[in-house]
């Protein structure tokens, strides 16, 4: 039985459709083939696999996301399972108690779904559209910047800084998000700028 089957091919061939012929070729008799044919295919066989890394600590274990639907084909995709990437040199497929439960993070009931606003003095969040939220935030930023921008210091030196609004950047966002953030924050002249590495 010296057949070089890839893991994925094995999952697929072990499925019901090809069970008769394949299992026959592997030396199973008719009854086993009939039994195999009655077994539902592994769900993962039809899942889209996507390579990712764990977002928690800095070991950055390789993980595989399994989803129903394929984003690369323009389909909506629902992640149904996450496991360690056995090819990853650091974790070699293992995950810790946090990484093993990553699916629960993706699907947490307290994931934010819609933009919200809490008005001054209010005791609740209220829905707001993206358009309204972004427009109002940009207006708040501009008004504050225009009012408090420091173009020159007391010695007349050009300093072009804005220190009445600040920005705390993340700890798990991508480098690409970080760079886009950097460009927007710095071009506005912000100095009150920090990220989670500080703490």
């Amino acid at each position: 039985m010296n057949i070089d089957l890839s893991r994925r091919a094995f999952l697929q061939t072990a499925g019901a459709g090809l069970a008769g012929t394949t299992l026959g070729a592997l030396g199973f008799g008719d009854s086993e083939a009939a039994h195999a044919a009655a077994i539902r295919a592994f769900k993962l066989a039809n899942a889209t696999e996507t390579r990712n890394t764990c977002p928690y600590c800095s070991v950055a274990c390789g993980i595989i996301l399994y989803s129903k639907g394929d984003l690369r084909k323009g389909e909506p995709a629902e992640i149904t399972h996450i496991e360690g990437d056995t090819d990853h040199p650091t974790n070699r497929g293992t995950l810790c108690p946090k990484g093993s439960a990553l699916l629960g993070f993706v699907k947490s009931p307290t994931r934010l779904q819609h933009p919200m606003i809490r008005k001054p003095g209010s005791d609740k969040f209220e829905p707001i559209s993206w358009e309204d939220a972004l427009g109002r935030i940009a207006r708040l930023m501009k008004d504050d910047r225009d009012k408090n921008f420091v173009a020159t210091n007391n010695d007349g030196v050009t300093v072009n800084r804005w220190i009445t609004t600040g920005f705390l950047a993340a700890s798990a966002s991508t480098n690409e998000t970080a760079f886009a953030t950097y460009k927007v924050v710095r071009s506005a002249g912000m100095l009150v700028f920090d990220n989670q590495a500080r703490v």
Binding site: L71, T110, D194
Partner: protein
Amino acid sequence: MTNSWTDIKNTDLVVIMGGNAAEAHPCGFKWVTEAKANRGAKLIVIDPRFTRSASVSDLYAPIRQGTDIAFLLGLINHCIQNDKVQWDYLKAFTNATYVVKEGFTYQDGLFSGYNEAKRDYDKSSWDYDIGTDGFAVVDATLANPRCVWNLLKKHVAVYTPEMVERICGTPKDRFLKVAAMVAETSSPTKAMTSMYALGWTQHSKGSQNIRAMAMLQLVLGNIGIRGGGMNALRGHSNIQGLTDLGLMSNLLPGYLTLPTEKEVDLAAYMSTRGFKPLRPNQMSYWQNYRKFFVSFQKSMWGNAATPENDFAYNYLPKLDLPGYDLLRAFELMHQGKMNGYFCQGFNPLQAAPNKKKVIESLSKLKYLVIMDPLDTETGRFWENHGPYNDVDPSQIQTEVYQLPSTCFAEDDGSLVNSGRWLQWHWAGGTPPGEAKRDTWIMAQLYLRLKELYTKEGGAFADPIVKLNWPYADPGDPKAEELAQEINGRALARVTDTADPTKVLAEAGKLLPGFAALRDDGSTSCGCWIYSGCFNENGNNMARRDTTDPDETGAYSKWAFSWPANRRILYNRASADLTGKAWDPSRKVIEWDGTKWSGYDVPDILPTAKPDQVGPFIMNPEGVSRLFTRGMMRDGPFPAHYEPFESPIANPIAPKVRGNPAARVFEGDMAQFAESASREFPYAATSYRLTEHFHFWTKHVIVNAVMQPEFFVEISEQLAAEKGITKGGWVRVWSKRGSVVAKAMVTKRIRPLTCDGKTVHIVGIPLHWGFTGAAKKGFGPNMLTPFVGDANIETPEYKAFLVNIEPIAGPVA
């Protein structure tokens, strides 16, 4: 990390101090297990708690939190006293031989130049003697009493095993066992690795904790080699990347620094960043600073950055202070000097010290914008949650926007692991509801701001309206586009400076790496140290080739490691002055008579002669620094300082309270308990658990079930003394706040004897809050002091004082 996770398998001795890898970095810790199982490596754990890392160690030594420097300088002293020094390495690769100026002194806990009113030093005496040739004076014989080695010897002499026991509470015999094992790695064929984390950084002298170990590693010759190094286990998946990219008040990407207001133009800015070599033949790689800076300015402002306007130098804000870090931000808010604040995936109400002050500060803002995948406490700081967040919403006028963002599984891009690997990942799922990528949110905000400034004008609009924003869809930049921008591009043809007929990159092409950067505006590059990550060969961060010749652990074709795909920093130091590996079984690179080559990208000019050019190419000395000149705020050598809240006075300098150069805001000092306080007699520390990740996994039902509720951990002795029962309720309070918790009474924490006094330790894990699936709970930050490290302002979460008492039941 100077090395990588997979390289740990090459070590002979692992020292985990200031961290707890088995619980906080479990899948990285398995490389420790690998080294133990396959090489017979030993593991030493030094920690106030008998952690799970300690449970599989060969030797555990208890230590009082906040005394690591005394322990580490004690180890250096031991190595010196017992001639356990890798002498050839020390003399050639460190500044041990450099002669220090007359006038530098250290006495009674203070270095020369201290100004008590400013809590700062005049550092002019902390420097080398410079000869008439312009180079630093050295004495290769180490005879000069003012050479760094002799000053260091004198400086560490006080840290005897007896003094270590007195300060740290580590029994002398245990300390000596540690010292003997560590000292053995001074052999050129033995390697020790240091694995540390927030247990070292979160102190008012955090930077010097790390320096002390780095110095020890240099004395032992353990930097640059396989299985050696200084390995910072970063806490989150991409704080390495966010720091590399300069998302801090005073940084530009790639560890360039923002101008101060004293630097009025580019020439003034460059005058202190020229980095002329301090010894003959040295690379002093920062001599290329201008190329990195100009290329960054071109990536920011494109055609608007010209030689005529100093490449848009004035588009950058200028600093009037060392930096506007997190603590200063909340201090300014508290003073009513700030109006707006953005939190992008950061939950400061939980993460910042002295929660009461943080709530008061946020309450004074006009607007707060939260971008997060999760419902954070910060987003709801205005909401009443009983004792967990005791506020009156009607009295808080802050307008709060809560914007839903995607998580890792819905986003493409790269993260940098602790070992500096930039690993690309791909989105696998559709975001929930209306959640959006952060890149989309930032672009949308930017375009609106730009539109407002274009239409209305306003304060200095140029840097905003002229920002280079070259994306196919300006409202939704793609991760690949941003990654290419970070890598850098030729704006005109770039040729080899030595051979102009050789083209390095045609105009418009991606740059092969940072060696192609130019300072004339012909190249753009967002972050020079990442250059090469996405070049004309493709997205190197997406590489997934597991080839590892001779199984060195380098995995050079897996992802991309900055800088230049180098896996071990300072790897030139793995070879001796003839270019041969100190240990043939640990070869990284070697000199073949004309060039360097081997398993890794050489961390040296490939043609640099081994007996001439030093391995520490970023330093103008070409060697590493046991004495850091004026580069650290609190001294050129580490010295033991007690935490600001300490159960004993500083045994070696009783008059010095805390770190004398640490910044303390007015009002905060009054909120520190006095040394050896009777009111707050117990030494508290914060930590995390293996089942939780900060304040995220309490939103995950599985993890919330595994560790459902807040507790504090105390010794059986303290429990007996206070009448606290296992699982009973206690109140723990500091001068800043109070928490209620269940008591976990364990053998993992034991009282220590420090300076003749019994010191009890109270452990406070940090994972609970008032949102998510776990039970509501307090964290340590109700209690922690508002003071940071003298150099980089990381708050002192790891050592503070509390009191504790049993109570009848929860008050909530």
